[in-house]
Amino acid sequence: MAFTLLVNGVQYSVDAEQETPLLWVLRDSIGLTGTKYGCGIGQCGACTVLMDGNAVRSCFMQAGRAVGRKITTIEGLSPDGSHPAQLAWKEFDVPQCGYCQSGQILTAVALLEKKPKPTDADIDAQMTNACRCGTYHRIRQAIHRAAALRGQ
């Protein structure tokens, strides 16, 4: 029952049940552990990945449904941490424990694709990922900075 997934531009042949959540295929079958498990019910956002450019919660999506779609994980955002969101995150020293930040960054990337100059209201509406360390203050600043970096 092997199936193929396109992740970060690489075709992976995966031998797992198709109902397995995409999160576990990414982490345990393919070995991309930057995507994190937080709740398993699509609530916290730690497992966020991009699917055809949209932020989706991979813990709540069967891997079979991702076949034929273009998946981007945090590892695929840039080869060297140079994506504008990553640069901005570093500039504002955003992460504390860091566990939710892959999901935060990918959600922000999806937001910036749709709204290159997001307002605070846009950020409030789109950034629905939980951070228990409470890094929201810096995430907001970093998103504005990333928007500016993209525009340069």
């Binding site: 070995g31 916290c44 990553q86 020293d93 930040q101 203050h137």
Partner: protein
Amino acid sequence: MSEKTPEKKTEMDRREFLTTTATVGGAMVLGFWMPLSAEAANMPVAPTPWYREAAVPEINAWITIAPDDTVTIRVGQTELGTGVFTANPMMVAEELQCDWKKVRAEYASANRDAREKAPEWTLKVPGNGESDPGGAAPVELENAKGVYRRMIIHSSGNVRESRYYLQLAGAEARERLLLAAANEWGVPVSELVAKDSVITHAKSKRRTTYGAIAAKAARTPLPDPSKIKIKTPDKYTLLGTEQKSLDVPLKVTGEAIYGIDIRLPGMLYAAVKACPVWGGDVQSYNFDRIRNMPGVHSVVRLPFDSLTKSVGFLCGGVAAIADSWWRAKTALDALPVEWNYGSGAGVSSTSLYDLHLATGKQPGEAKTNDGNVDEAMARAAKVVEAVYSVPFSPRARMEPGNATVLVTDNRVDIWSGDQDPQGLLRRAAKLTGITPENVYIHSTFQGGGYGSNGNGPQGEQAVAVANAVRGRPVKMLWTREEDWGTGTKYRPMSVCLMKAGLDAQGWPIAMEVRHATTWSLGDMGYRGLSAPPYFIPNYRLTIHAPKTHVPIGTRRGTGAAPNGFYMESFIDELANIAGKDPYMYRRELISRNPAEPKQGVGGFVHRDDFVRALDMVAKMSGWGTPLPEGWARGIAIDDRRRPTRTTSTICAQVHTVEVTKAGKLTHHRVDVVFEQGFALMNPLSVRKQIEGQIAWGYDDTMYQATTLEEGHAIERNFDKFPVSRMNEYPKQVNIQFMKTNRWITGAGEEAIPQIPPAILNAVFKITGKRFRSIPLKSHDLSWG
């Protein structure tokens, strides 16, 4: 399993993997480790501690220096978001006088700590603690005699406990580098200057680098290391400057390795289900029902017996083991299990609240009894009574509990982010019968902690599982529901009965506080209540201890959080009854204290700093200036003080809040004055900690509670246990540091106790409703 694995990455061996998971900063490039062949499963782990790189000279247990001047500094404490991977190297580098841009951090080895005694020169801690710039807070280190002293991270204690010996470690290494250069050049060591990893001798214009002299320094002991002196804060050049976190670059690329990310050759996966009622155990289970499910390996019973209790288990359970975690979890969900719930099964939050309230009315243990409360209460012009409470609440970290463990017949290896690596090492030895010297902890990053046993018995359960399948590494991972329902300890429910007698002008002449709490750890039940900052000539605090089956532990904010909520809300009530401004009311009551501690009532050595903090925060928040209808400011102050006040950090806050007539609350603005004492190690890190605590305290105020029904926790995932998001975080946060002439306690949780009372004090001003329990989600805030 995947067919495509990048070939170059599979060349990394396990030793290399271990090194790279735990090393950050500088120019180090992290690689991903991918599974090797199944045959490699029995590959022995390198027998020597993993971080010892023979090619790189070790100056002392904390410091290695490579020929290219890369300085690697070992950190004993786990990085779980509080900045230890940056602040601790800064404390060493301050004295080492090395080039900060070339500093890397890596984990120290708990195994080495178990084998090696602390150097003699780190054990003597001179000074008088908080009031001595060159001093330390030695009390907590008395029994920590291993080389890395105290590796547990708790009680905002990292800087407080480790600053002194980390500065010493840097100074010892610097002196040896200087001595080695002096010996080589045949000049007096006093003529040499060390700066940014370069040693110069001005007279002869000679120059060398730390990297060049390191090998010699490693063989050059100091004649008398006990003579080393550390810098006082006025001499700091690196400490006290804002430095970005060394681990952040790894945390924006997915490269940072947490416990959950460990992958080993031939690794099995385990999912665990523990008895939902703490103290309960497994009655029976039927493995045959899942035996043939895909990938299933076995089921391991985790008994609740004297051994497992002694290592921190909270109840018994079962673990399903399979070739992937999802398969293990799927099998476990299908496994029929009968439980023996034990004696806690009949308990609910309602029954426990009633028990607390009843116990609070019974005689208790007096912690403070100043003056004559009963006599003063009898002559008071007015007596005010109020009942406050908080519910149970877990720490609720983001990374669910996990650990990866390999047990063989003579050795245990544990890969985990754990708040207490030394404790885990001892407990693993106990569980397996293997000596502590043969237990190795390979520390990883940890996805939050928020309490000294914040990770629960994750490592201990994982060891028990792996011990049942010796020879195979097992990654045990809790579901979110396991983590919050059976894997954690709780900030306990408590009920506080407060009673004040006021004189005709509304000033308290007597106060009686009866606190019913199961928080029997240290001073958690009375920290902040036993010696309030307010001058109340007749004051009595009694502690009343009901019994419950709910496991109780420390949680971010400690006992100061509920206790501060009670005191700072009640004093606000009194101000309102007195018809006085709550800021000025506090200010007056604090000012009435004698400044010096005296026999009897009211000595308050930090009086003037408290008043200064109140004045600063009032000014920066625009206290007293007009706000729109439905808006108000609330104020609170606390210092997370211990009863003796030898360790505390003063923090005053004003929260600007809006409540619509329909009852919707918006948290608009927070102004914070935070004591910095002599110096903060990394002010950027402290700023981040305070920003985060604002979200933490807000969540406590608004949402968070663990409700009990039939003895078990109801809120076990994010759907029922809300964590606020971006849209609820205040748009304006102002933080000012306040210099004082002492060392502060720490910064990891000192801005939390003020938040619920400050918000609720503002809510009262708007709505006229005085809420005496949190979270607010259970209350109707509508008004007008």
